[in-house]
């Protein structure tokens, strides 16, 4: 691009918003092909139980019921796909419908197919299942004790896997330390709760031997390859469409039982089969996130220099793995050193089976856990050493001249200036004034606290070799005969706004208006084979593929223009809807005229084919590592345990921003979700393995009235890992916020001598911690 970008970097409003706000978007549930049958699942009410018998006769005889399926009829379907395993992982096969045992509350046992959704639901109540309830495994630590009930009868214990990562020598580092601080911490199991629950509509056309599967997913091509495999269908006979997807947060980066089930049933019945998850099902059967309990040991010199960091952690897998259950925990290990120079680190993880739904990727996926324990420990160490939380962090930052920075966990951080982001945040917050305000408030018997989180995270997933495959993304750019441009992306955005940002990328490169660019995604028959949207990769990897595909089309158009103007293709410029010769600007044509030349093909440049359509598969050379500083000012009411966030200042460095409005949107949502984990969210199970709060009446999502106005700032440290210089922003807010909020609360409570309370900091927990200290 010769000219300055016109659209890249501009805060353009999201194209999706009008249709989303007006209810004009089409989600899976909005598609109703004629003859659609509805599926309802009968699910286990127990954490663990033997199935003595299943009697479907009454259900099958009910009005409007077309078919009823149990394990027997569906056992030919392949088990739920799992990947990202570690060598010693035990891998239980997850059936589509439970056979002799159910292993978590919500596990499907029977599927009822009926003419209406109501009929299916009514008939589900008529299925008679005789269960023998068994002892359930709920608590991670108890699960590993000898004599614990077992999740899987045929395994020796509840240990699912072990995995370790180490850099340097932690024992030596601890010896070198002046002080050693230790703490046990929990990252509670939380539910992702996308506002649109999952949904599937499968429609097999026997004449064509073709199936279309609409599903609310982040990874349509993965669904196609894997579900086709499960039901034994060639994948090129299957078309997967991810229509409007109402959020995923990682929970839809997965292959679920109902997808294969609906695909199997439509092939049997030849009619469309629809299943739309209820919110209760969403709580019980869609993956959860986090779920770690661990002990941390950290060695430091008196001046605050970290000499060692160790995390021995139990990881809650649930009863079966989903697609990336095990891999998520390994991300915690990779990011354990965070933004600090920690020469000696190790994480020893033990995966634990429990009678619960699987954990898997939830916004941040492994990194929030690492950031949380590290940032909490920084504060605990600061208190121990009598240092300011800012100084102890500064002490351990690498300098910007040290990038690319190689960590003891084996990663190479691309670029960064951690001091600068911290400085900006301190300045914006007016840190000295904040401390003075805290002092003043304490005199009045009010408890204010200041919480920091200086984070770095890993984005742009990622080089294929590092991910164990499929780290690339694809894009095709077509300039239409009329001069409009269409982007076909292999990424599958579901709320992030790439329909807008990809248009900005293409408009700038081709010198046309962003409104003349349409972005298409989420249809495997239409877009090139793609990987999907997760791990903050949509723009970083997917957008980079768009850049290269765009440039290929541009180069081809330049050849047609050069032929027309009898000029050199390198001398062709694209600007404001015109194509012209740079050294002789009077030689100029409309962008659409050159496009039409390529399609009419009456004359062709040498070695050039007709048409303007180019594809690129982009393989990144490294991950990207956004970073930043979040500062929270919070007040605690010690009598009620209530926490109120008074101020929230965040400086996020996400590299170059394609669209700052979208960046802010991601950070807003991320902060809200991270705050939810800090203050409110946690899946709670009774002894029998039943979730006690699987509804929005009991499980609190952070609401707008609990959050202050966010003060958002940026530093910009581009990356050279991709042509956009963008680092990714989908998860930064979630990762940065959780520890900042908790640190603020703990800082507020420091007059009581409190140094740690496990999340979520619900009023009762805060009150109890104070009461204990007062007693």
């Amino acid at each position: 691009m010769a000219q300055a970008p016109k659209f890249i970097g501009a805060p353009i409003k999201r194209r999706d918003d009008p249709r989303l706000i007006q209810g004009l978007a089409h989600y899976v549930d909005d598609f109703n092909p004629p003859g659609t049958l509805h599926m309802a699942c009968v699910r286990s009410p127990y954490g663990k139980a033997n199935i003595r018998s299943v009697d479907v006769s009454k259900a099958a005889a009910a009005e409007g019921v077309v078919a009823v399926y149990t394990h027997e009829e569906t056992k030919g379907i392949g088990p739920v796909p799992v990947g990202g395993l570690v060598p010693d992982a035990k891998v239980p096969a997850q059936p589509i419908l439970a056979d002799k045992q159910v292993l978590f509350a919500g596990e499907p046992v029977v599927a009822v197919i009926a003419e209406t959704r109501y009929g299916a639901r009514d008939a589900a109540d008529l299925v008679e299942i005789d269960y023998e309830p068994l002892d359930a495994v709920v608590d991670l630590e108890a699960a590993l004790e000898p004599g614990s009930p077992k999740v899987h009868d045929d395994y020796e214990s509840n240990q699912a896997f072990t995995w370790a990562i180490a850099g340097g020598d932690v024992e030596a580092g601890l010896k070198e330390a002046d002080v050693i601080v230790k703490e046990k911490m929990t990252n509670a199991r939380v539910a992702p709760l996308a506002l649109e629950p999952r949904g599937v509509l499968a429609h097999y056309l026997p004449g064509e031997d073709k199936m279309t599967l609409w599903t609310s997913t982040q990874v349509p091509h993965k669904v196609r390859t894997l579900v086709a495999g499960q039901i034994g269908m060639p994948e090129n006979r299957m078309r997967v469409i991810a229509p409007e997807v109402g959020g995923g947060f990682g929970s839809k980066l997965n292959i679920y039982r109902e997808e294969a089930l609906a695909a199997f049933v439509t092939r049997e019945l030849g009619l469309p089969i629809k299943w739309v998850e209820s919110r209760s099902e969403n709580f019980m059967t869609t993956i959860h996130g986090r779920g770690q309990v661990g002990e941390i040991e950290m060695g430091l010199k008196n001046d605050g220099t970290i000499t060692a960091f160790r995390y021995n952690v139990l990881a809650d897998c649930g009863a079966y793995y989903q697609l990336l259950t095990v891999a998520i925990f390994t991300l915690t290990g990779l990011m354990l050193p965070g933004p600090y120079k920690i020469a000696n680190m190790e994480m020893n993880a033990t995966g634990v089976f429990t009678n619960k739904v699987a954990t898997d990727a939830y916004r941040g996926a492994g990194r929030p856990e690492a950031t949380y324990i590290l940032e909490r420990m920084m504060d605990i160490a600061a208190v121990e050493l009598g240092m300011d939380p800012v100084e102890i962090r500064r002490k351990n930052f690498p300098d910007k001249s040290e990038f690319p920075f190689n960590t003891s966990a084996g990663l190479s951080y691309d670029s960064g200036d951690y001091h600068l982001a911290l400085d900006r945040a301190l300045e914006a917050a007016d840190y000295p004034a904040m401390r003075a305000q805290q002092e003043e408030a304490r005199k009045d018997g009010r408890y204010l606290g200041i919480g920091f989180s200086t984070y770095v995270e890993i984005c742009g997933m990622g080089p294929s070799a590092a991910l164990g495959g499929q780290g690339w993304e694809s894009a095709r750019v077509r300039v239409e005969p009329t001069g409009k441009a269409t982007v076909f992306s292999g990424a599958s955005p579901h709320g992030q706004g790439q329909q807008t940002s990809f248009a900005q990328i293409v408009a700038d490169g081709l010198g046309i208006d962003a409104n003349d660019v349409t972005v298409v995604h989420g249809d495997t028959d239409v877009v090139p084979y793609g990987v999907g949207t997760f791990g903050s990769r949509g723009t970083v990897v997917g957008g980079s593929a768009v850049v290269y595909a765009r440039d290929k089309v541009r180069a081809k158009m330049a050849k047609f223009a050069a032929m027309e103007f009898e000029a050199d293709a390198n001398d062709i410029e694209f600007e404001d809807g015109k194509v012209f010769v740079r050294s002789a600007p009077e030689k100029s044509a409309g962008f659409a005229d050159i496009a039409m030349m390529a399609y009419s093909a009456i004359a062709l440049p040498e070695d050039t084919d007709p048409g303007l359509e180019e594809t690129h598969f982009f393989e990144p050379s490294n991950f990207t590592f956004p970073f930043g500083t979040h500062i929270v000012l919070a007040e605690v009411d010690p009598e009620t345990g209530d926490v109120e966030i008074l101020r929230y200042v965040a400086v996020d460095d996400v590299g170059n921003m394609i669209n700052p409005l979208l960046v802010h949107g991601q950070i807003h949502g991320g902060i809200a979700q991270g705050t939810g984990q800090a203050l409110e969210e946690e899946m709670i199970y009774g002894e029998g393995g039943q979730p006690l709060n699987a509804s929005f009446m009991h499980y609190a999502l952070p609401k707008a009235n609990r959050l202050p106005r966010f003060e958002l700032l940026h530093t910009t440290t581009p990356t050279d890992v991709n042509p956009l210089g963008a680092k990714g922003v989908g998860e930064a807010g979630t990762i940065g916020s959780t520890p900042a909020v908790v640190n603020a609360v703990i800082d507020a409570l420091s007059p009581f001598g409190i140094t740690h309370i496990d999340m979520p900091l619900r009023p009762e927990r805060v009150w109890r911690a104070i009461a204990e200290k007062r007693a």
Binding site: R121, D125, S280, A700, R706, E764, W767
Partner: protein, 290 residues
Amino acid sequence: MIPASFDYVRPQSLEDALASLGEHGDDARVLAGGHSLLPVMKARLADPGVLVDIAGIEGLSGISETEGGFQIGAMTTHAEIESSALVQERCRSLAEAAGSIGDVQVRNRGTIGGSLAHADPAADYPAVILAAGAEITVAGAGGERVIGADDFFTGTYETALHAGEILTSVRIPAPAARGASAYLKAAQQASGFAVCGVAAGLALDADGAVESIRVGVTGVAATAYRATSVEEALTGSAPSAESIRKAAAGAGEGVDALDDFYAGADFRRHLAGVYAARAIGKAWIRASGK
């Protein structure tokens, strides 16, 4: 979240509604705003065969002055109560309770009659009803009767309403010359329901001494209750912040409190004391200004 099938009738008069209820007996349920009833039906915890929608009955909705107070029709929504100038002036705690219920959507649909008839132990109104000494009018096949606040809430989801009766209105007595009230609550973060809600209504005499006081507590026990020990401790003398705090501590003492994952029994009892102190203090400041 799909309810079992049911029949639906929408009578136009109280007589027809009562007749419908009589005809279907246990199988029928009154439908008001639906914001307690429909969720339990969708969860299939209830499956009435007939819903008798009382929204079409004229005269069941609205707020009007009466001799010695004001009256609220059973079908009046939380939003109407929250924003009524009359309620704000005469019984501030009631407006505060209404305004603290759930969210805007719930307040736009849910009704005071439905909330009182449902008698959720964590509902907000019961505290105010007790503190205000309200009277509840119900209609049945045999005619009308009036139930005093102290006799209305009989247990968890249980009231003095008989099967087949319809709650028609709530009467709130006029405040004393130097009377005021306040309602404060600790809301469950997910639902907004009261983990502890306290309404205090008091009247001061010319010297500033407490002439009368009523304190209602909801969310803490299986049924909303009056904190009579607190009332007794404060009656007859001029309060101070300190005396209020001391007396209010008794609001939760000895109560057989609810206990769930969100708030243990001891925490709820503690909150009752804290919120009683704050609500009484607020009502006292309001009354002192008169």
